[in-house]
């Protein structure tokens, strides 16, 4: 049995109002207004939408809350939000703004108690643990703060620990593959596939249709989260008013350069899944 029920979840890294995309979670390019992209993916029938605030700690949080409040008036599919969540209060704000589920990373590595508390207060199904994995000397380690800081915590042991503490799902980003389009991190996936019984959303590396076929045999994968390939295929759908943006790296958008990703969209991805 292959896992044909994989959910397709566009991953939107955001910085203020902007959708941004980097490589290895670094060097973020602004790709335009995040609302445009969310609406497009909703109409293409994404299974869920994932918003990752990459600079949550540096910017005013209210931007994210307002963004979620506004967008959830128009889109009626589940919204996963996270990035920089530090407390139960943060979770409460996100949920009351309209997010359905949240993911936690940095703060629970510092204070694992926050994870068990969050599960207790908001229910297991609401709480996802985000793991940003990077390979070093044949082992995978967890990064924190959107890939900015290293830890000596091994993914293999952490993933079991967070399962025991009640996380409903893992959101696993391969930082090595993020933004590269070179395929999902099969080594990482095969390592953890047998370690836990909860489902895993994998992120980082999708580039071409065969990448999906390669991961179908891993039963724990419940969803694929895709950023670059979807975003770069969508850029031309929107008009940009550069005067409106006050900050961010717009060089790429202005240059109208080609990108290396093959054109795709959610309907195309769904077809691949339906036909395997």
């Amino acid at each position: 049995m292959t896992n044909k029920n994989l959910r397709i979840i566009p991953r939107l890294d955001i910085k203020g109002q902007n959708l941004v995309k980097g490589i290895h979670l670094e060097g973020f390019r602004a790709l335009g207004n995040v609302n445009d992209y969310i609406e497009k993916y909703y109409l293409e029938e994404a299974d869920e939408i994932l918003l990752n605030d990459v600079v949550a700690s540096l910017y005013n949080r209210n931007t994210l809350f307002n963004l979620i409040k506004k967008i959830t008036k128009k889109i009626f599919i589940p919204l996963i939000a996270g990035g920089g969540i530090k407390s139960l209060k943060d979770i409460e704000f996100l949920l009351s703004s309209g997010a359905d589920r949240v993911f936690l990373n940095s703060s629970i590595i510092q204070n694992p108690r926050l994870l068990s508390d969050a599960v207790k207060y908001f229910g297991s199904s609401t709480i996802i643990v985000s793991i940003e994995a990077i390979k070093s000397k044949r082992k995978y380690f967890c990064l924190t703060n959107s890939g900015r800081e290293e830890t000596n915590l091994e993914v293999n042991s952490w993933i079991k620990q967070v399962e025991d503490m009640g996380a409903s799902e893992i959101f696993l980003t391969s930082v090595d593959m993020d933004g590269t389009g070179r395929g999902f991190d099969i080594k990482l996936i095969s390592q953890i596939n047998n370690l836990i019984s909860i489902p895993i959303i994998i992120s980082g590396g999708y580039g071409k249709t065969t990448d999906i076929k390669k991961i179908l045999k891993y039963k724990k994968i419940s969803a694929i989260s895709i950023g670059s390939a979807l975003h770069y295929s969508s850029i031309k759908n929107f008009k940009y008013n550069f005067n409106k943006f006050d900050e961010g790296n717009y060089e790429f958008l202005k240059s109208q350069k080609k990108n290396k990703f093959n054109f795709t969209n959610i309907k195309k991805l769904r077809k691949i899944l339906d036909n395997v």
Binding site: R7, L95, S97, G123, S168, P199, A223
Partner: protein, 207 residues
């Protein structure tokens, strides 16, 4: 006076339900005020989270009786996910806490051999019981968004409007009992097809 009172017992994403109501032109409010609830044309019991916490919060806000009375008034009562489960008598999630008992039956764990922690997350097709001839018929075989660990098992199987399937286990996805309609999935998170359920509620209220 509101078309819909979305009962606020601080569980789950209330705003999405409000947005879905507004999207179809229903005048809705999120409230824990008994007076507003009583005057409303219908109520929605929302919810994500634990069975006992939901009942605890409802009792703390002195809404248990208010909700029960609303049901007795014959006006539409809609339960969603946990809001469906609490309408039953009890749940394996917390055996010490009694539910409303409006629907006879219990809430049970998914219960797979050798599998703990089974949680159904994602879009699944619903199979509508054809002979019921309800508004749900047009939604047969359409996908809806589920996120739950427990399933409702009504004593009277005739009240089941639709089933769904997860890991080859058939379970109850929607029920209709007297003036109560309840869904294990989240209509407000199920795109265009989910919105049709809110449209139906509107039709019912506008009569």
């Amino acid at each position: 006076m509101f078309d819909v009172a979305i009962i606020n017992y601080e569980m789950g994403n209330l705003r999405s339900i409000l947005s879905a109501c507004e999207a179809v032109g229903l005048k809705a409010t999120i409230t824990d005020n008994p007076k507003i609830i009583k005057k409303s044309k219908s109520i929605i019991l929302p919810g994500v989270g634990a069975f006992n916490q939901a009942i605890k919060n409802i009792k703390k806000k002195k809404l248990f009786r208010v909700i029960l009375d609303f049901y007795y008034s014959k006006k539409p009562v809609i339960g969603i996910c946990l809001g469906m489960q609490i309408l039953f008598e009890e749940s394996e999630e917390n055996l010490n806490t009694k539910g409303f008992g409006i629907i006879k039956g219990a809430v049970r764990e998914f219960n797979y051999r050798n599998k703990n922690n089974v949680i159904n997350i994602g879009w699944r097709k619903i199979k509508v019981k054809k002979f019921k001839n309800t508004y749900l018929d047009i939604l047969n075989n359409k996908k809806f968004y589920f996120i739950h660990k427990f399933i409702c098992v009504p004593n009277d199987k005739n009240i089941i409007l639709a089933h769904s399937n997860y890991l080859n286990k058939k379970f109850c996805a929607a029920v209709k009992y007297q003036n109560v309609e309840a869904y294990q999935f989240h209509p407000e998170k199920s795109g265009i097809n989910g919105i049709k359920i809110y449209k139906n509620l509107k039709k019912k209220i506008m009569i």
